[in-house]
Assembly symmetry: C2
Homo-oligomer: 489 residues x 2
C-alpha cells in the first residue's frame, strides 16, 4: 500500500485493516467484527502487559457473569439512565420466553456490586482490588469503526473498594500509572489523562479521568478511563463496612477500564507509515521475519542455514521463517505491511560471507550482520526501534498541543489537527452551555483539565494551571480553568 | 474442614468451594456463578498452558463475536436441532425490539464457519488452525453444579479446516496430545479419551472423541472433546477450495473444545484431600506461603527475615508472605484449605539457626532447611509434589478400571465407583437401544471405545481391543466392541 496517513487517515486505516488482515468486517451482525490472528496476537500481548501491571498493583483476577439481571440495573439511577438505552436484552431461552430480562453487560458495575455488598463487612475485607478481562456489549447508535467503536469490544475492568476517599483517589493515580506503563511504556502511544468535565463523566461517578491520544487525523481517541465513584454505588448497592468505632460506613469506590480494542487501534494508527503497519517490538506477533533468498539448486542449503538462524533466535524473539512458495519481494512487502519490526534476508552469498542482511521496518535501513552476532544485533535493533517509535510519537504529540485565546484561534488550530488549551469559564456542570455552543459552532469537545501526562509522574486532581484574568473562549466571562479542546472519536 | 472426600464427595466439593473461596453461588441469575480470584488464577494458568500448546501446534488466536445471527444457525440441520433448545436469545436493544434474533453462542460453529467460507478459496488457504478463548452460554435444564455444569462456562474452541480427511484425523490425534500435555502433564489429571458412540456424538459431527476423568464419587466427568466434522459443515456453509485439478472440493473439518471450567473442577476433585485442596505446583496461584511466627518484641526482626526470603524466592516461585493480623495456626489452616503446595514457617529460633521450616501440603511433612538452601529445596519439593500427585492420581484411576462379562457384574463394579469395560453389541447407531436398556436399569452410560489413554501415545480410531466370542451385556447377541461404561456427570 501507499497512502498518505496524515493526508487521508480514513482510507489509510481501512486499507491497513485489509492488507495486514486485522479484522473481517463481513460478519453478519452490524457492529460486530471478527478479530483476525494478526491483531489478536498483539491484543493478547496487551492483555499480558496489563496482567503484569494488575499483579504489580495487587489486583486479583475474577470472573463475573456476562448477564445482569434487570432488577440489579435499577439501583444506581444515573448509571441505569446512562446505559440502558444501549443495552442488549436476553429475553428468550430455547423456545420459551424468560420471566425476567437479562442485560448483556455494557459494563460490570450492576453485576459486580451486589456481590461486593455480600463480601464487604468489616475493615479486614478492604481494600478489594479485583479485575476482569473480557468483553462487553453496547448497542451503539453512532457509526461503528473497527477497534474504535463497536457493539462488542474487548476490555479490562478493575473494580476497587476502599474504606476512605483518599485511598480511592490514590487508586485513580495508580490506574493512571498502569496506563503509562502499558500504553506509553510498552506501546509508545502518548496521551494526556484529563479530568473530564462534569457533564461528560461516567454515569454514576463523582469524577471521570480519561486518557486521550491523538490520532493522525487530529481527532482524539479515549483509550482508558478511571472513575472516582465516591459513595454513589456503595449507597445504591449497600456496600458498607463496620468501622473501628463499630459504626456502619459506606465504602469508597473506583473503577478502571482500559479499552483494549482502542489501545490496539491507537497503536496501529500512531506508529504506522504510508506503506503499512509498524508494530512496536514488544507487541509484535512476529518480531523477526526470516526470508530465505532461494535460487534453483540452493534451496536446501539456504533453508537449512535459515532454519538454524530461526532456532538460534527463538529463545530471544518471536521469530518466523517464511517458507511460503512466494518470491522474496512478495514476502518483503507482506511483512512490511503487517509491520514486522525486523527482517533477516539470507541467501547463498550471505552464507558464504557468514553473514545475513538485517532490515529495520521503520527506517528501512539494511545492514550486513555476522551470523554469530545476530542475537545481540536483533535485541539491540528491536529496542532501538521501540525507542525510536516512542520518541517520534511523543514529539508529534507534543507538537500538536497548542493554546488559544479565542474560539476562532482555537477552531483554526483544531482544524490543523491539534488539541488546543483554552481558558474556559468552568469545568463544572454550569459550563455545559458553553461547551454546547462551541460544539455547535466548531464540532469540538471539551476534554477537561490535565490530570496527568503520559511521561509525567505528577497527577493533579485540581489543576494548578489556572487562568489569570483570561476570558472563557465561549461566553467571554472570566475563565477559571484551562481545558483542552479537540475533535473526538 | 475435615470431610471424607471418597465417602461424601458432594459435601466435600461444596465445602471446598466455600473454604477455599473458589466461587460465589449467590449471583442472582440461576446457573451463573462468580469465579473468585483463587480459582481464577489457576484457570488463567490453565489458559496459559493451552496457549503454549496451541502455539506449539501452529494454532493462531482469533476472536469471533458472541452473538450469532439466527439465520446462520439453521444451515447444519443436526447442529441446530442439537443446540437450539438451550440457546439464550437476544431480542431487544434499548427499548426497541430487534428485527432479528441473535443467539448467545452455545458453541462457535455457526458464527465461525460462514467466515471460513469467505476465507477458503484455494489450497494455499489451507489448513486453517484457529482458536478462541472465552466463554459460551447454554441454558441447561439439568441441575447445575459449580465449574461442572453451568449456563455460562469458560472454554477454548479450536476450529480447523483441511483439504483431506487424513489431515483431519491427524488433527484429532494432535488435539488428544494437547489434552495429555495440559490435563495430565501439567495438572496430573488422568483420563481416557473415548470415541463416543454414534448416538452420543456432537450435533453435526461424524465422530466425537472425548476425554473422561474419574471423580472421587465414581462418576466420570468429560473435560475435553474433539470432533471429526467430516464435510457436514463445509457442505452446509460452503467451505470449499479449488484443488490442483481446478475442481471445487469441500473441506474437511475438526473442532476441539477443552472445557476449562471442568478441567479446573477435575483438578480440584482429583487431588484434594479430606482437609482441603491440594493444588499441583504448576497451577498454584501461590506456590509458597511464608508464615512468620511472631512474638511480642520480635516482629520487626522476623518480618525482615521473612521479607528477605520472599524476595529471594520470588524469581523462582509464586510466593506470598502472609502478614495478616492472625495467628500462625489460622494461617496454616487457611493455606492448607486453599491447597498451597509449600509453606515456609520462620520464627526467631529458626533465624538463630539460619534455617526455616519447610512444610509440604500433601504429605504434611516438615523439615528444617538452611535459608541459603531454600531456593533449591523449594524447586525440588515443588516438582516432587507434582510428581506425587500425578502418580497417586494415576494409580487410583487405573485401579478403578475394571472389566465385566455381565450387566449385573458391571453394575456392581460401577456401584464401587469404577469404569467398567464390557463386551457390547456395537457402538454404532443400532446399539442405542442396548445402551438405553442399561441406562434404565443401572443408570449408567456407554462412554465408548478407547481412543487413547492419558499416558499413551497410541490413538486408535478403530479399537483393536475386539471381543472374541463374547456377548453383549445388554442384549446377549454377539458382541463386536469393548466399551467402557460408567455413571456420568
Amino acid at each position: 500500500m501507499n497512502i498518505d496517513k496524515y493526508g487521508n487517515f480514513s482510507d489509510w486505516y481501512n486499507e491497513i485493516i485489509k492488507v495486514a488482515e486485522l479484522c473481517d468486517l463481513r460478519y453478519n451482525i452490524k457492529g460486530f467484527i471478527v478479530i483476525m490472528p494478526w491483531a489478536m496476537k498483539s491484543i493478547d500481548q496487551i492483555y499480558k502487559f496489563y496482567d503484569a501491571e494488575m499483579e504489580r498493583t495487587s489486583h486479583l483476577p475474577a470472573f463475573f457473569p456476562s448477564l445482569i439481571h434487570e432488577k440489579s440495573f435499577g439501583a444506581e439511577k444515573e448509571h441505569v439512565a446512562g446505559f440502558v438505552p444501549e443495552v442488549l436484552w436476553v429475553t428468550e431461552a430455547g423456545d420459551k420466553k424468560l420471566e425476567e430480562r437479562y442485560a448483556l453487560k455494557p459494563t460490570g458495575e450492576a453485576g459486580i456490586y451486589p456481590m461486593y455488598a455480600l463480601w464487604v463487612n468489616g475493615l479486614s475485607d478492604l481494600p478489594i482490588k479485583i479485575y476482569q478481562k473480557g468483553w462487553v456489549w453496547r448497542h451503539e447508535t453512532k457509526a461503528t469503526k473497527p477497534f474504535i467503536r463497536g457493539r462488542e469490544f474487548l476490555w479490562i475492568e478493575a473494580h476497587d473498594v476502599f474504606a476512605t476517599p483518599s485511598e480511592a483517589s490514590a487508586q485513580v493515580a495508580e490506574d493512571a500509572g498502569m496506563a503509562k506503563t502499558v500504553i506509553w511504556g510498552k506501546l509508545g502511544v502518548p496521551f494526556i489523562m484529563f479530568r473530564r468535565p462534569q457533564w461528560d463523566k461516567f454515569a454514576g461517578a463523582d469524577n471521570t479521568f480519561a486518557a486521550d491520544t491523538l490520532m493522525p487525523d487530529g481527532k482524539v481517541l479515549q483509550v482508558a478511563s478511571t472513575h472516582l465513584l465516591g459513595q454513589h454505588f456503595s449507597k445504591a448497592y449497600g456496600i458498607k463496612y463496620t468501622d473501628a468505632k463499630n459504626e456502619p460506613q459506606f465504602a469508597w469506590q473506583t473503577c478502571y477500564g482500559p479499552g483494549v480494542n482502542r489501545i490496539y487501534a491507537a497503536m496501529v494508527a500512531v506508529h504506522g507509515d504510508n506503506r503499512g503497519m509498524v508494530v512496536p517490538y514488544d507487541a509484535a506477533p512476529i518480531q523477526v521475519a526470516i526470508i530465505p533468498i532461494l535460487r534453483k539448486g540452493n534451496e536446501g542449503k539456504v533453508l537449512a542455514e535459515a532454519g538454524k538462524i530461526e532456532t538460534a533466535l527463538s529463545g530471544i524473539a518471536r521469530v518466523k521463517l517464511d517458507t511460503r512458495d512466494q518470491s522474496p519481494g512478495f514476502k518483503f512487502n507482506d511483512w512490511e505491511q503487517r509491520g514486522v519490526p525486523l527482517r533477516i534476508e539470507i541467501g547463498e552469498r550471505d552464507i558464504a560471507n557468514g553473514s545475513a542482511v538485517l532490515a529495520v521496518r521503520d527506517t528501512g535501513k539494511k545492514e550486513n550482520v555476522k551470523i554469530a552476532d545476530l542475537n545481540s544485533a536483533i535485541t539491540k535493533a528491536g529496542a532501538e526501534l521501540g525507542a525510536r517509535l516512542a520518541s517520534s510519537a511523543s514529539e508529534r504529540f507534543l507538537k500538536n498541543l497548542d493554546t488559544a485565546k479565542s474560539a476562532d484561534e482555537m477552531a483554526r488550530k483544531i482544524d490543523e489537527g491539534k488539541m488546543v488549551k483554552v481558558p474556559f469559564c468552568t469545568d463544572a456542570k454550569e459550563g455545559e452551555a458553553c461547551a454546547k455552543a462551541l460544539k455547535e459552532k466548531h464540532s469540538c469537545d471539551i476534554r477537561g483539565t490535565v490530570f496527568t501526562f503520559f511521561n509525567s509522574e505528577k497527577c493533579e486532581f485540581e489543576s494548578s494551571d489556572k487562568p489569570h484574568g483570561e476570558k472563557c473562549v465561549s461566553c467571554g466571562k472570566p475563565a477559571n480553568a484551562h481545558v483542552y479542546v479537540a475533535r473526538q472519536y
